[in-house]
């Protein structure tokens, strides 16, 4: 599903962000990408969603080589790889439901489809009773669930979660991880980027560990080792 082959990224010619990264994530896997700040996790995420280009190597997503992606193809890539972030990235002047609908509107879906899909994904994430509330009227965990709902509207093959629990307390963090596991159980490949040791250790899933831009560990049932 996701294949990195000898991928390197240098800034200003010689500042190393990532060096010789190679790994393969199979369809339906749940993988955690861990590492300290500055290890290269964000750069890797940016390359996966087409925000950055690799300096060397090849990245293939779902059989699609995205290494030299044209700017007009990036929107289509982003409909395949749904992304959620630590800061939720919700529009504050829209309700949770409207935030989800907005994602469908900007990609040209019909009103009929929007009215069917949006409440469905809100139910999947357990927000059907709060979908008419504004982001500031709900908890951080609920905001993150709304962001996950928005990411699900295209039935993506991959869900990229970049520090999704970074702004949450342990109870809400657990709920979000449970939701990610539920989505994974439907067949969606999940790549969880985190530096939360407790979550990674409890998951008992595959762990990729980055350190100073290098992949230092790839364990099938891994632990947070740094």
């Amino acid at each position: 599903m996701i294949k990195f082959k000898d991928v390197s990224k240098y800034y200003n010619g010689n500042v190393v962000a990532l060096e010789n990264i190679s790994f393969h994530i199979k369809p339906g896997e749940f993988v955690s990408l861990v590492g300290q700040s500055g290890a290269g996790k964000t750069t890797l995420v940016k390359m996966l969603i087409g925000e950055e280009r690799s300096t060397e190597g090849e990245i293939v997503v779902g059989g699609w080589n995205i290494t030299k992606l044209g700017s007009s193809e990036i929107p289509y890539l982003r409909r395949q790889i749904a992304t959620i972030f630590q800061d939720f990235k919700l529009l504050p002047k829209k309700t949770l439901l409207e935030n989800v609908e907005f994602a469908l509107q900007v990609c040209g879906k019909s009103m009929k489809k929007i009215k069917t899909i949006a409440p469905q994904v809100m139910r999947i994430v357990g927000l059907e009773s709060k979908m008419h509330r504004y982001p500031h009227e709900v908890s951080g965990g609920e905001r993150q669930r709304a962001a996950i709902a928005r990411s699900l509207v295209y039935q993506p093959k991959i869900l990229l979660a970049d520090e999704p629990t970074g702004n949450l307390d342990s109870i809400n963090a657990k709920e979000i991880i449970d939701l990610l596991l539920k989505i994974n159980s439907f067949g969606t490949t999940v790549l969880l980027v985190t530096h939360n040791r407790e979550i990674v250790n409890k998951l008992k899933r595959r762990v990729l560990t980055l350190n100073e831009g290098r992949l230092v560990s790839d364990q099938a049932i891994g632990k947070y080792i740094i």
């Binding site: 007009s72 289509y76 990235k89 529009l91 994602a103 990609c107 040209g108 019909s110």
Partner: protein
């Protein structure tokens, strides 16, 4: 179907942009209105000055002075010859006596001239042929033609004064046009900068929205188009306001122009109405092109959030 859906959403987002930044939109529209109004004002000034120049030219007579003893049959022959010239509209013979009468009439309030005429024993004025061109534009070729006419009864033909006067009028007309072009260019530049900044501020206001649009896979066209459509809406709205207000202004101006051009058929309202599509159509295309260019530059530079 999907295309029309996207277009309708882009238009909806454009109106949202305009209303969410209502004061910015008002300022932008005001600047556009001022620019377009000034351009039309300059056009009106140009039309009025052109009409004034034609009026002045029509009032200028070219005189060909004849010998005092010129026999009337030779004068008539010369008159006919002149009337056959391509640019001549009218030729009037003014005899010595008529010339004196006109001179006395013109100077009746000046006792010194009246006294000087009384002291002269004979009429000092020469008979003449007054020549008028077919139209104001025919002045210069007419002078050239008259310089080539050869006849023994012609006493003098000094057209230098006319030439200097025409050159001065043409120089004024040229300066009015140049000033108009310069002012228009300045206004176009101001518009370009205002629209550029409007788009920039609108993008800044919507940076979160644009970021989320990119995140969820909205196409570049879908992200950029609302800003371009907004600039077109500004142009269309401003031009409509200008057309209405400018016609009101011309209605107020017309009575004064009628007094100024008394005896001449000049109507500024008719001028704008006859050239409506050419003037306002051209203004729309230029304003729209300038606005699109400014928005495109701003959107290309700042929308990658």
């Amino acid at each position: 179907m999907a295309f029309f859906l996207s277009v309708s959403r882009i238009i909806k987002f454009s109106f949202q942009d305009i209303f969410r930044n209502i004061w910015l939109s008002v300022v932008t529209i005001m600047i556009l209105i001022l620019t377009l109004f000034s351009v039309n004002l300059l056009l009106a000034v140009k039309a009025i000055s052109a009409a004034a120049v034609d009026t002045i030219k029509n009032k200028i007579d070219i005189s060909l002075y004849l010998k005092t003893d010129a026999p009337i049959e030779k004068v008539t022959a010369l008159k006919t010859k002149l009337l056959n010239l391509p640019n001549v509209g009218e030729v009037i013979y003014v005899s010595q006596e008529e010339a004196l009468m006109k001179f006395q009439e013109a100077n009746r309030k000046d006792p010194k001239i009246a006294q000087a005429l009384r002291e002269l024993t004979k009429n000092p004025l020469a008979p003449s042929l007054i020549i008028r061109p077919k139209s104001a534009e025919d002045f210069e070729p007419l002078i050239g033609e008259l310089n080539r006419v050869d006849d023994a009864i012609i006493e003098s033909r000094d057209f230098d004064n006319y030439k200097i006067m025409l050159e001065k009028i043409d120089a004024i007309t040229k300066k009015v046009s140049e000033a108009g072009l310069l002012v228009s260019a300045i206004f176009i530049l101001i518009t370009l900068m205002v629209i550029y900044n409007t788009s920039r501020v609108a993008i800044y206001t919507h940076r979160n929205e644009i970021g989320i649009m990119r995140l969820v896979g909205a196409s570049n066209t879908f992200i950029k188009a609302p800003f371009l459509i907004s600039s077109m809406i500004y142009t269309l709205f401003s031009l409509t306001v200008v057309v209405v207000s400018f016609y009101l202004f011309l209605n107020l101006l017309q009575p004064y122009l009628e007094t100024f051009f008394s005896g001449y058929n000049f109507n500024i309202l008719a001028y704008f109405s006859n050239n409506f599509a050419r003037i306002f159509g051209f203004e729309f295309f230029v304003a729209a092109a300038v606005n699109l260019l400014a928005s495109w530059l701003a959107v290309s530079k700042y929308s990658n959030v």
